[in-house]
Structures are given as C-alpha cells and as structure tokens.
C-alpha cells in the first residue's frame, strides 16, 4: 500500500518537475511574448502537479486539503498574471500599427 502511494507520488511529482524544467527552458529560450506566457503557465502547471501529488495519501485516505487549496489559489494568481501580461502585449501591438 505505502509502496503504491510512493510510486504514484514519484510518478506525478516527477512529471511535475519535468514540466517545470520544460517550461523554464522554453521561457528562457523563446523571445515572443505568447511563447513566454505559455512557458510560465507550463511551469505553474508543473508546480501544481507536484502539489496535487503531495496531497495523495493512499486510496483509503482522503487527500490532504491544504495543497489543493494552494493549487486553487495558485491558478487564480496565474490567470490574473497572464491577463495582465496579455493586456501589456496588446498595448504594444497596437502601438506598432
């Protein structure tokens, strides 16, 4: 049982880390704003992935609610930040025309 928990946590947590690294690489390498924004959101998704994996406590136990609350808050923050960055990008595009 505990082995299964550990395995699932490693699997989901590990893929979270891979997502973070992919996002970071893309954020640093690509110049266009949209690609940077998608990259930073990918990093966020990776972190949330890890938090969800941390919350898992086995099939018979209810998951830890704290990381879930963190993920929900994190999503709200990520949406707001993306919206503001898009508004800036739109403004710059309009200036170009």
């Amino acid at each position: 049982m505990t082995g299964q928990v550990l395995y699932s946590q490693l699997f989901y947590g590990g893929s979270g880390i891979i997502l973070v690294l992919l996002g970071l690489w893309s954020f640093l390498v690509h110049a266009p704003l949209l690609r940077k924004l998608i990259a930073i959101n990918l990093m966020g998704a990776g972190v949330f992935h890890m938090l969800v994996a941390i919350a898992y406590r086995g099939i018979d136990t209810s998951p830890d609610p704290v990381p879930h609350a963190l993920v929900l808050t994190g999503i709200v923050v990520a949406v707001s930040a993306t919206a503001l960055a898009l508004a800036f990008g739109k403004r710059l595009d309009q200036d170009d025309d």
């Binding site: 704003l33 930073i40 972190v47 990381p67 963190l70 707001s80 930040a81 200036d95």
Partner: protein, 480 residues
C-alpha cells in the same frame, strides 16, 4: 484594539481600493482618506509592538495550521512603519501630481499595492507570503506602465515576466517545504527543518526567486527601465518599497526559516553579488544621463549593500555584535527607503517643471525649485552615508564588524560605493548652482514638495540621530 490594527492594516487599503474603483471620478478624496487610515493603523501596530511585544492575530479564530495568521514582530514592525510613512507621503504627493484621468487609474492600483505590501510584512505563512508577493508584483507592474508610453509598457512587461519567474521559483520552494515537513507556518517550518538536500534546494529556490525580485546584480537588468519610466510617485514606491519587500522576505527566511541550514558558501555568494551590485550600480548611476535613471541605478547599488550583510551575519556569532549588525542592516534598508522615495518625488517635481530630466540641462529648473533641490540634497546625504544620516550609522557598524571579522574586502567595496555615490549626487547638485537670479520662494507647491522634503529630513536626521528606538523595536523577536 491593538490586535484589530493588524488586520486593519491590510483590509483598510483593500476597502479603499474598492471604494475608488466604484467611484473613479472622485478617487482622490476617498483615496487620501484610506491612505491616512491605513498609515495610522500600521503605525499603531508598530507602536504596540514597541511597547507590548510581538502581536499576533488568527483571522476568523482559525489557528495554525489551517487558518491565516498575521503577526508583527520587531522586524516586520520596523519595515511596516517605514513603508507606511513613505506610502503616506507618496499618497499626498500623488494627490497633487496626477490629473483627473490618470488619478482614476492610479488610486485603485496604488491602494491594492499598499494592501499587498502590508500583508507581506505581516503574513506568517509561506504560502500567504507567495500570494502577497504576487499581488505586489502585479499591482506594481500595472502602476509602472501607467503613463502608457511604449518604453514604460515594454519595461513593465519585462518586469512582470521576471517577477513571475521569481514567484514561480519561490512557489516551487514552498511546495518542496510542504512535501518534506507538511507545514507552512514560518515558526513550525523553522522547528521542523533540518540540514539536507531538500532544505538546501528549497532555500536556493526561494531565496533565488526573491533576489530576482529584489534586483540583485546580475538580475537587476529589468529595474532601471521599469523604475525610470514610471510616473514619479510610482517610481518612488517601486524603488523604495517594492524591491525592499523582496529583501525583507529574503532576510526573514534567512533569519527565521533557514537558520539551521545556513552555510557560508550561500552567504558569500549573496555578498559577492551584492558587492558587484554596489560597484556596477554606482558606476552606471554616475554615467546616467537622466535623473530618474540615476536614481534607479542607485537603487541597484543600495540593494547591494543590504546583501553584503549576509556573509557578515553568518560570520558573526550570536550576541550583541550580531544584534547590532542586524539592526544596522535594517537601519540601512529603512533609510534607503525614505531617502530614495524623497529623491524620486523631488526628481518628479524637477522633471515636471523642466519638461525633461536630462541632468546636464537641468540647471534652471532645479534652481527654480529650492525645496525640491534641497530634498534631493538631503536624500543625497542619506544615500552617500554622510553623518548624521541613518546610512552613516549603519555603514559604520557594518564596516566595524567587517574589520573585526577580518573580512576587509567588503570594506573596500563599501568605500568604493560610497565614493561613487558622493560623485553621482554632487553631479546632480552641481547643476543647481549655475543660474541667476536666485528665486525668492522656497516652497512653490507645498503638496508635492513637502512630502519629498519630509522624507529627506527623516532619512537624514530622524533615523540618524534618533535611531535608538529601532534597537528597542528589534528586541521584540528579531534579535537572538
């Protein structure tokens, strides 16, 4: 009553932001009222910590680990007082600075930023700190782009993206801490943490994210364009308060959370980056052609001094010497906050009068505004570290401790930075003395010139001659 002042410091600006969003046509009145009430409640928190010790409020009666708690100890109370004095001065100044249309956009964002700032100083939980950090970054980037010029929007888009990367790194650290220890409250994490790869990685991620936001060399590249292109009151808030908040959090984590896992290598790395920031920032400030760019590069340099404190803190054993060193660092941060805000506010007046801020062509405008020029001079005294400013006292104590520890190279860096600071300040002031006739009015626009002047006076005289209360304040939970 004093317990209530804790949540009020965060909620009052939030309510104010809501009020000015509902009636944007009359933003100034309610905005100033909210500013006054917020500053009053925050200062009463500091007064209560000073007289009664650490304050704590569990919101809604929910305790740790489930609820959201606010806590003010000596360290947070000291930063809270400085930030709210500066923010009140900026609000009064902004009341006279912004015209109808920009006032409509300024006040809601400004009060949101203030709320996030007070929340950051008072939060006790690593995740709530992340939320306040993000709110601070978002409102700061939006405020910085208020002028709507292409340069301002591009600079603040970059600032926003860098800030997001920093917060993401911090959040990853928080996730690691929670995975390893199952708690987020600063006090509980400090009890549970033990040296090991997880703690080191979490520390690197969290402090790394914060130094990105604190613009420590070489991650300072976003700061000068973002701060120099913002409207003057916003530049003052960004340079004096927002980067200082990231430093406060780094210091808080360093002292309270990661104390058991600290090592000299990490401290020396931070100190070396700080030293590079001092030299590079001061040099660029000296070579800057525009007054606000000079002030922005000066911020890069001044943030450097604060990070030089980390290797000194690690090398000093606990006791009176370490307490004094910590107080000196806090004093340096507070003085810089007041002085830099005064400098930016005064520079904004000069820029408004002259229509530009090219240092070489400033003469007439600076001389026509004696109060603003005097404020620049006072802020300059504090930035250079001449007596009797708080910076003088703080630098003196840091230099003394570096000598005692035999770490003379930090001393050399601080001397070079001080000399360069003197050069760039006098370069500005020298432009104020070449025109005739001498104007006969000292103050021309009280609402905008007096806040700058007052900030300069507090930085130079208040924190230098009357710095002792800071030691009393920091005894509440920060020393030891």
């Amino acid at each position: 009553m004093m317990i209530d002042a804790l949540p009020l410091s965060v909620t009052l600006p939030l309510i104010g932001a809501f009020a000015v969003t509902v009636s944007p046509g009359h933003a100034r009145g309610p905005g100033l009222l909210a500013a006054l009430l917020t500053a009053a409640s925050a200062l009463s928190v500091t007064a209560a910590v000073w007289s009664d010790g650490v304050l704590r409020a569990d919101l809604g009666g929910w305790g740790v680990p489930l609820g959201i708690a606010l806590e003010a100890d000596g360290l947070s109370a000291a930063f809270l007082a400085m930030a709210n004095v500066v923010a009140l001065a900026i609000s009064v100044y902004a009341g006279g600075y912004f015209k109808q249309e920009s006032a409509r956009h300024f006040w809601p964002l400004w009060l949101l930023l203030w709320s996030a700032l007070n929340g950051l100083f008072l939060a006790t939980d690593l995740f709530n700190l992340y939320v306040t950090l993000e709110l601070l970054g978002l409102s700061a980037a939006a405020l910085g782009a208020l002028t709507g010029t292409r340069e301002a929007v591009a600079a603040n888009l970059r600032y926003l993206l860098v800030g997001l990367l920093g917060s993401m790194s911090y959040l990853l650290g928080v996730a690691l801490v929670y995975a390893a220890y199952g708690v987020l409250d600063i006090g509980l994490v400090a009890e549970a943490i033990e040296p090991g790869p997880i703690a080191w990685t979490a520390m690197a991620l969290m402090i790394g994210g914060l130094i990105l936001k604190a613009a420590l060399f070489p991650m300072h590249f976003w700061l000068p364009p973002a701060h120099a292109n913002a409207p003057a009151p916003v530049s003052a808030a960004l340079s004096a308060l927002v980067v200082k908040a990231a430093f406060y959090l780094a210091l808080r984590l360093w002292l309270d959370v990661f104390a058991p896992v600290l090592n000299e290598a990490a401290a020396n790395l931070l100190g070396t980056l700080g030293a590079a920031a001092v030299v590079w920032g001061s040099w660029r400030a000296l070579r800057a052609e525009r007054l606000k760019l000079l002030a922005a590069y000066s911020t890069v340099a001044q943030m450097g001094y604060l990070f030089i404190a980390f290797p000194l803190l690690v090398a000093t054993p606990p006791g009176l010497a370490r307490d004094n060193l910590l107080a000196a660092v806090v004093l340096l941060a507070l003085t810089h906050g007041l002085a830099k805000a005064g400098l930016f506010l005064a520079a904004g007046m000069v820029q408004k009068t002259a229509g530009h801020d090219r240092i070489d062509d400033l003469g007439g405008a600076a001389q026509a505004l004696p109060a603003a020029t005097f404020a620049i001079g006072l802020a300059g005294v504090a930035l250079i570290g001449l007596p009797p400013s708080g910076t003088f006292l703080a630098k003196w104590m840091m230099l003394e401790q570096a000598m005692i520890l035999g770490l003379w190279w930090w001393l050399v860096v601080m001397m070079i930075g001080t000399l360069l600071a003197a050069a760039y300040i006098f370069r500005v002031l020298s432009r104020a003395f070449n025109r005739e006739p001498t104007p006969y009015r000292f103050v021309n626009d009280a609402r905008t010139e007096l806040p700058a002047l007052l900030l300069g006076l507090i930085a130079t005289f208040g924190l230098g001659i009357a710095a002792q209360p800071l030691w009393v304040l920091l005894e509440q939970g920060a020393f030891g």
